[in-house]
């Protein structure tokens, strides 16, 4: 009995964590320990989500943001896998450039937004390009890593069966490296979401990021927190969805 209380199931532990977090937030706000203008209590923030829906075109903005995230992810993933394959295939290029991409992955790429603003203008192209740039490094690195680590014996099996080049790629190399590539894809999708919302906020254009900026400018603090909370929830759902997709894809390789 005591053990089951000390070691609750993960879902119960998660719910309890959020209950404590929101409870402490509510209490601190009501007691005046935190100004309502800085952090209004959850009892004001949560109802504001419905106001976002009615007054701020939540669905339209959500679709706009996630459309841009998917466009950026698609472009970044496609290009990243091609570059990753090239770095794997061309050993000299791999030795020369892999460290660069690792360094780029650690850089705050969102700071490049003025350059992209000049190149593409204040429109969706800038946001998608910035998202795609964020997706590239993890996809490139994980694609190369996945392909580099395909067990040599599986490659030899393919050779003994006289596979064609295309069969060798789609029957052995891709399925064998898919778990690692998918790790890069999940990281890339999260980076894309961060960059897209961030750039929307910075350049005042697009969906959710722009909505957060507008609510902040109007001092609708509860609405702003509700929008942030909504983006966090969407991000969590997004992460869960990619995890399910990964499981499904790995099973159907």
């Amino acid at each position: 009995m005591i053990t089951s209380i000390l070691r609750p199931p993960p879902i119960i532990a998660r719910m309890a964590f959020f209950a404590v977090l929101f409870g402490a937030w509510e209490w601190a706000s009501r007691m005046g320990m935190v100004s309502r203008f800085i952090a209004p209590p959850p009892s004001e923030v949560l109802p504001a989500i419905s106001l976002l829906y009615h007054d701020n075109e939540l669905v339209t903005r959500f679709l706009r943001t996630f459309g841009q995230v998917f466009a950026a992810s698609g472009i970044g993933a496609g290009l990243g896998m091609i570059i990753g394959w090239w770095l794997h295939h061309n050993k000299n290029a791999g030795r020369a450039f892999t460290d660069w991409f690792a360094a780029i992955a650690a850089a705050p790429l969102v700071l490049l937004f003025p350059l992209f603003l000049v190149l593409f203008g204040r429109n969706a192209s800038t946001i998608i390009a910035m998202g795609a740039v964020a997706v590239l490094p993890p996809i490139i690195l994980k694609t190369k890593e996945g392909l580099d680590h395909v067990p040599h014996v599986l490659i030899n099996v393919g050779r003994t069966f006289n596979l064609t080049r295309w069969q060798y790629i789609h029957l052995i190399m891709m399925p064998a490296s898919l778990p690692t590539i998918f790790t890069g894809l999940r990281l890339g999708l999260v980076f894309a979401l961060i960059n897209v919302v961030g750039v929307e906020y910075l350049i005042g254009f697009g969906g959710m990021g722009l909505m957060i900026a507008e609510l902040g400018d109007r001092f609708e603090v509860a609405g702003m927190y509700a929008a942030i909370l909504f983006v966090v929830l969407c991000s969590a759902c997004f992460f869960w969805f990619t995890a399910r997709l990964e499981t499904w894809l790995l099973q159907s390789r």
Binding site: P151, V153, N156, T160, N162, L178, R253
Partner: protein, 272 residues
């Protein structure tokens, strides 16, 4: 060469040598090895670690194409992977993302055989290796011995005329190894499959083979060929027989000298 027959050997290895360039100079892994294998024969190659057994196997299988000498299949020179020669590897080689059935059907899928036909064939082969009922299991759900049987069935699906096995049971415990030896004997007898086995295990070589080739430690040469005249069909029950023990002792007497050389060289290298 060693086998007393006038027919053209199925596989003929003639004066094959392989040298590797290393940081310490040229190393001769295989030195002027010649061997004829007749259709349906089971031959084992045994030797100490580093004697070039696997290198020889990879040359025959076509994974190594740069070597001196020639390899003939039905009297015709071949170099590179051939559909007539199938290989089973020492390492785990099943595809973890495919079920047992789809692993076995893999070469047929690559060869463009329709799904229903390749699955019928894969079912037959899984039955042959004693894995009926495990068709939809993934390799991670099976034991090491079962995974190696899947690898054997997959290679047989390609219907190779010559089956090369590079220490396929090396990672298994002794009991499983003996029982799988029985299974290999049954398959070989049923299919009359020409088979070349690389092994470290003397008992396994005696249990399975018509001839056992003992290789020298570096450079790898054929030191001696021992003809195994134990009656067939054979099984692991023979392991306790007097004649079986005599063959094991005979092979070990030759192998011991080579293994000692290998051990001394390894220790000397470690000391430096």
């Amino acid at each position: 060469m060693m086998h007393d027959t006038h027919s053209t050997p199925t596989l003929s290895i003639q004066n094959v040598s392989k040298h590797f360039e290393t940081g310490k100079g040229t190393v001769t892994a295989v030195d002027h090895v010649s061997l004829d294998i007749q259709q349906g024969e089971f031959i084992s190659i045994i030797g100490p670690s580093g004697c070039g057994k696997s290198t020889l196997m990879n040359m025959i299988g076509g994974l190594i194409t740069e070597y001196d000498g020639s390899i003939l299949l039905d009297g015709k020179p071949v170099r590179g992977c051939q559909p007539e020669i199938g290989m089973v590897f020492q390492e785990e080689s099943t595809f973890p993302w495919r079920t047992a059935l789809d692993n076995v059907a893999f070469p047929l899928e690559a060869g463009g055989v329709p799904k229903d036909k390749r699955h019928v064939r894969a079912h037959e082969l899984l039955d042959l290796v004693g894995l009926t009922g495990f068709e939809n299991h993934f390799p991670s759900e099976l034991s090491g011995g079962m995974r190696q049987r899947i690898a054997i069935a997959r290679t047989l699906a390609f219907q190779p005329r010559i089956l090369l096995m590079d220490e396929p049971f090396a990672a298994l415990d002794e009991q499983t190894r003996l029982l799988l030896g029985d299974k290999v004997v049954q398959i070989q007898q049923k299919l009359k499959q020409t088979t070349l086995l690389i092994t470290h295990n003397i008992a396994e070589a005696v249990q399975l083979s018509d001839r056992v080739l003992i290789m020298t430690f570096r450079p790898g040469r054929i030191k001696r060929v021992v003809e195994i005249t134990l009656p067939r069909p054979r099984s692991s029950e023979m392991v306790g027989s007097e004649k079986f023990a005599a063959y094991v002792a005979e092979i070990w007497a030759d192998l011991r000298q080579e293994a000692s050389k290998g051990l001394k060289e390894t220790e000397a290298a470690a000391a430096h």
